[in-house]
Symmetry: D5
Subunit: 96 residues, 10 copies
């Protein structure tokens, strides 16, 4: 089941440098592991903003919630979630 | 070059039935032709709304503009465009 | 899987009376059938507004989308969809 | 009498860990006590956000106000309140 | 139980004059009857706008909903509802 | 002359406890003095929020401004002001 | 007593030409009469928009309300009203 | 003196075809004449929307207002105006 | 050339008292000097808010920008700028 | 390929003076280097605000993203990006 998620990050300008570096590294590792497992289907930077647009393919809402709450940057994020369904004009036969 | 486009459709409730049917058929054909050509990369329904989230892969802004203005439903749409860039945590090596 | 859906209805003041009566009757029958089948879990009026807050229990996003697009009043509605997950402080053991 | 309440939580990233832990534990205990007493009817996580959607069943506005002001997380919350009424298409005969 | 209700009226400029006159007369009679019965406690014009701020004193949400849906101008209104509770600094001892 | 004023309070979570206690006590005394003098006509809590809806009866805009700027909590408030006029359907003959 | 009023006009594109001409002429006459009487203190066009910013000097809210409701273009306007008070840095000694 | 102007066009879907064609032709001629005279400095399409971003170089606010009110599409436009000033990091020595 | 400027001030509650006093005194002196020179034409308090509505009469956008950036309270302000033009119903013959 | 970018800067009032001075100097140098290279085509101050409107001419979205993320003031900015296309009424034959 697909969800579009937009994450906007607000890091405090006075954040401790070590904490910041460690958090960003953990975020990257976390994002890449989920991409490899197939649940984090797409990850794009919104050009010129500290924000991304992501597509998740998960079993249900609970799993999506667990993934997003597990993000190391979650406490610094605004998140919007849009559940996606199959579009009748989509040419691909497989379910979205 | 990738763009996320969100289209929300507002058809007048009193729209002529034939015009409506013809417009929707033309829209579907238009959308499927561009999916086959590779420029309309993804097309998802926003669940429960007359809206979609699409990803386009085009050569430049002018081409994106031409595609969207060519949509048979364009006069009935609100459109938002988000240019996408490669995300540093994206595991795929190819450029977006 | 649960979703909160808020529907706000905008009927044109000059809507044909017969069409209006028939549409409202069809809407009521549709809503009650889905409540009986267990997919439309809750249906509340937002006091003093032509709007409702509903909770749906469906298998996935596609089913939610089909239900909402099938509403006889769908062409007259603004709809917002919020996917729900289990809350860690919820005392009920069954998954939402 | 039913009310839909949406609570969005903003904890300061630099909140003292002990205060945070104690406040969250108190919040959980408070929420569960009110669920057991029957006033906090439903408690759902808005998937992927630090927010919940709750349904309260209380005697009047004053009681709702007392409950919400008593939340240990209240100073960190944005709250919206929607009074609910019985919907004419609701199949349940009991009053909401 | 008190509620603050803000009603904003949008009459179509091309509304039939007789319908308009009859609707406005019915609205006035309806509003005055409810003021005399004590349920419509206050009725103020928002200066310079086709809008009012009203205070209702009703038994519950269902009664408020019935009153507002019964307004002859209801199909032309945007309505916002704010449930009110007793303020700890209010000098009047009687319950709000 | 009547004005509806909505005040929303944002106290910093880390506010000094003594300052907070003293400010809230001063606010209460200030509000009650103005209620007794007749200028602060109504004071209601917006249920479940740190906000109130108030009605002031003052001689002019300057007096309203002085009263609001004198609030001990003024530096922590968002304030909206709506000037009120007599409504043609108001059954009370006295001027508002 | 001064009020800043911003009026934004939305004339239907298909408005009858004669009605339009007559309404605009009446609006101009109305505005100029009130400027001459001293109640409509300033009238500025918001550059490039069908909108104006006006300053009124009236005895009270009721008078302001009567003036604005009397505008021939009132049914086509969005209006916002801001009550003004004397500013402590204003060099003019006379009351605003 | 420079101004950024964003124009968003809303043509009614049922607009008469001849009126539409004539209005668009007049708009184009009007826009090109002002570009040639040097007052309409830049004219860009906002990609994928019926909107443009324009830069005007005019003597004063009155002239800007006259130009925008003279647009054949003006009755169908939402317009926002941003006055521009010289930026201290602009490398061009001439005043904007 | 006239501009309407709305300034909303947000002073941090924990601002150093001396800095605050000095900044406010500098702001007052600055505002009064520009009123005397004729460039700051009107200065009104928005009743009940830490905000003002001002009218400036300046030679061009650059001068307006210099004046506003020079405000001692500028770092604490939200500012909106509306360029004003002569209104066709304004009875005064002099240009605005 | 052209993009309109609006940057709004929020510097913390208590920012260290040396850091502030160094950051602003680096920002100026960065902006001027990119203007000289031809990628930062226009840079205008939004009059009276700590904001600018810029036009960039870059090869693609990735390059735009790199430029904006490289801004020394980027952590303090709100940024909006509008991709621009050739307007059919633009008199210049060269591609935008």
């Amino acid at each position: 089941m697909l969800f579009a998620v937009r994450m906007t990050v607000h890091l405090p300008p006075d954040m401790d440098t070590d904490v910041r570096t460690a958090t960003l590294a953990a975020e990257k590792e976390y994002a890449q592991k989920l991409q490899r497992s197939g649940e984090w289907l797409h990850l794009w930077r919104c050009a010129g903003r500290y924000a991304n647009l992501s597509i998740f393919d998960v079993t249900d809402n609970d799993r999506l919630n667990d993934i997003l709450w597990g993000l190391p940057l979650f406490p610094y994020m605004d998140v919007t979630v849009t559940p996606l369904a199959r579009h009748p004009s989509d040419i691909r036969q497989q379910r979205v």
